[in-house]
Symmetry: C2
Subunit: 244 residues, 2 copies
DNA sequence: CGTACGATTGAGAGACTTCAACAAACGTGG
DNA sequence: CCACGTTTGTTGAAGTCTCTCAATCGTACG
C-alpha cells in the first residue's frame, strides 16, 4: 500500500529531524508524478542527467555500479520515504545507477520544484542536506563492513540496518519487516558471492538470529543479531526512540 | 608550505565549481584559527560534537572507524583544501574520527561562522553541499573497490584518485605528488593486510606503473595505472581540465 | 647508538570464490 | 488451473587470493 507523497516525506523527515506544523503542511505543496515500476528495472542510469528526483513510495530500490566485466556492487538499499537521487540536484551527471529490487511505486519531483521549495523553506533544505549526509554515513559504515567484517557479521549488520530504518519510518511490525531482495542482491551489496551468502544465511538462521525468506525479514534474536554484526545504529542519526 | 585559508578554499571550490569575483573575494571574510598538528593525531573523535569545521591547509588527513577488536577502516583520505568534517554542521555527533596521517596545518572555522556565511552566500552553501555529495561519490567508488576489485586494482585505483585530486588543486607536479601514507594506512583504507599491500605495491612498481616511497607518489605509466585500477575519474565530478 | 616504526620476506592457513549441478519457487500463458 | 520456462535457492568439491604469524632489515630520530 503506497503512501501519499507528502505522507512518505513527513515520515522520513520526522525520522531524522523535526518539522514544524507549517513545514509539515507545506509538504503538501510538493507535487510529483507517481509511477509504478516493476522489479529489476532501472530508474536512472549511470551517465544520465536526470531532471527530477525520485521519491520512493513503496517497494525497494538500490543504487549500484556495474564493472566492465559484469560484476556489480550495490551501494545502498532504499526504503519508502527515501529520495535516493537527491544528489542529482547538485551533481548533474549520475555516477551510478538507481534501480528497483522489487515492484515499486515512485514519485518523480522535478528539480525545479525541489529547488523552488528549498528557497521557500530553507529548513527543509537543511533537512535534505542532513539526509544526504546520513546517506554518506551509511556508505562509510558499509565500507567498514566490506573492508573489515566477516561475511557472517556483514550480513547480520545490513539486516540490522534495514530493520532499524524500516522501523524508523513505521514499516516494521514487531520483529518483522519487508526485505524483498535476493541472496544475489545481498552478495553484490556486501562484496560476497551468492553461494557464500546462502551458506552464511543458513548459519544465521540455524543460530536462531533471523529468518529471511520470501522477501520478509524476521528477527529471531535482536540482541544476538546486533552482536553478531557489531551493529550500533548511531551512524543512522535517527531521532531518539527508533532504536529497538 | 601551507596556503592561506582563503587560497585553499578558492582552489578547492574552483576545482569542483565556479566562483564569481564577488564570491571569491567574499572568501577572505571567512576566518579561522590555524593550528599545526603532528602526524598520527586525532583532530575529532567519534562521539564528539565539534563546534567548528576543519579546513586542511597542508598535510594529509583521513577519516576512520576503529572496531572493538582494534581493526580499523580508513574511509577517506583528505588533501589540502578539503573540509573533511563539514558534515558536522548538520550532523551533531561524529560517527567516525578525523585524524592526521602526516604533519599538517589546519584551520578551525566555527560552525556559527560557516552558517552565517551560508546565509549570506547561498551559492557557496550549494557548493559546499555539492562537495559533501562528491564526498559520498568517493565513498561509493571505494565501496566498489573494496567489494569487487582485486588488491592490485584497488591499490592502483586509490593512487589514481589521490593523484587526480592533488592535481585538481594544483598540488601535483608533472607525474609526482605527495602521498605521505604508510603501507599500513593503505591497507586499512582498502580492507587489506599491510603485508599484502607491500607485495602488491612491489608488483605495481615492477610493472613500471608507479613508485610510492618516502611519502611521494611517482606515476610511471599513467595509462597503465589507470587501466590496472579500472579508474575513471568521472565520479570526482571535477570541473573539466583536471583529468590528466 | 639504541630504539621504534615501517618495509620486506617466507611459510602455512583460512575465508571466501568459482564451477557445476540440482531443487524449489515463481510467474506467465495457454 | 496446470504446464513450463526462468529465476532463485541449495549443495558439493576444488581452488585461490589474501591473511596471519613471525622473523629480518632498513632507517629516521632522540
Amino acid at each position: 500500500m503506497p503512501q501519499s507523497l507528502s505522507a512518505a516525506l513527513t515520515r522520513k523527515f520526522e525520522s531524522i529531524g523535526a518539522l514544524s506544523t507549517a513545514q509539515r503542511s507545506a509538504l503538501d505543496d510538493l507535487k510529483g508524478v507517481t509511477k509504478p515500476v516493476s522489479a529489476h528495472e532501472a530508474i536512472v542510469r549511470e551517465g544520465e542527467r536526470p531532471a527530477a528526483v525520485t521519491l520512493l513510495l513503496s517497494g525497494f530500490l538500490c543504487r549500484q555500479k556495474v564493472l566492465p566485466d559484469g560484476r556489480r556492487q550495490i551501494m545502498s538499499f532504499h526504503i519508502p520515504g527515501d529520495i535516493p537521487d537527491l544528489q542529482s540536484l547538485f551533481i548533474d551527471i549520475m555516477d551510478h545507477s538507481l534501480g528497483t529490487l522489487a515492484p515499486s511505486m515512485i514519485a518523480l519531483i522535478p528539480h525545479s520544484a525541489m529547488l523552488a521549495f528549498f528557497r521557500r523553506y530553507p529548513e527543509i533544505a537543511s533537512l535534505c542536506w542532513r539526509d544526504t549526509l546520513i546517506d554518506g554515513a551509511v556508505f562509510r559504515e558499509w565500507m567498514v563492513g566490506i573492508g573489515r567484517r566477516s561475511a557472517y557479521a556483514r550480513i547480520a549488520h545490513v539486516l540490522c540496518e534495514v530493520f532499524v530504518r524500516m522501523r524508523a519510518v513505521g514499516l516494521a511490525r514487531d520483529n518483522v519487516c519487508d526485505m524483498p531482495v535476493t541472496q544475489s542482491d545481498i552478495a553484490d551489496a556486501l562484496g560476497l558471492s551468492a553461494v557464500h551468502v546462502n551458506r552464511t544465511l543458513q548459519e544465521l538462521r540455524n543460530d536462531g538470529l533471523m529468518d529471511l525468506r520470501g522477501g520478509t525479514l524476521m528477527v529471531g534474536d535482536w540482541g544476538g543479531l546486533r552482536r553478531a554484526g557489531g551493529f550500533d545504529g548511531a551512524y543512522l542519526h535517527l531521532k531518539d526512540g527508533h532504536a529497538p
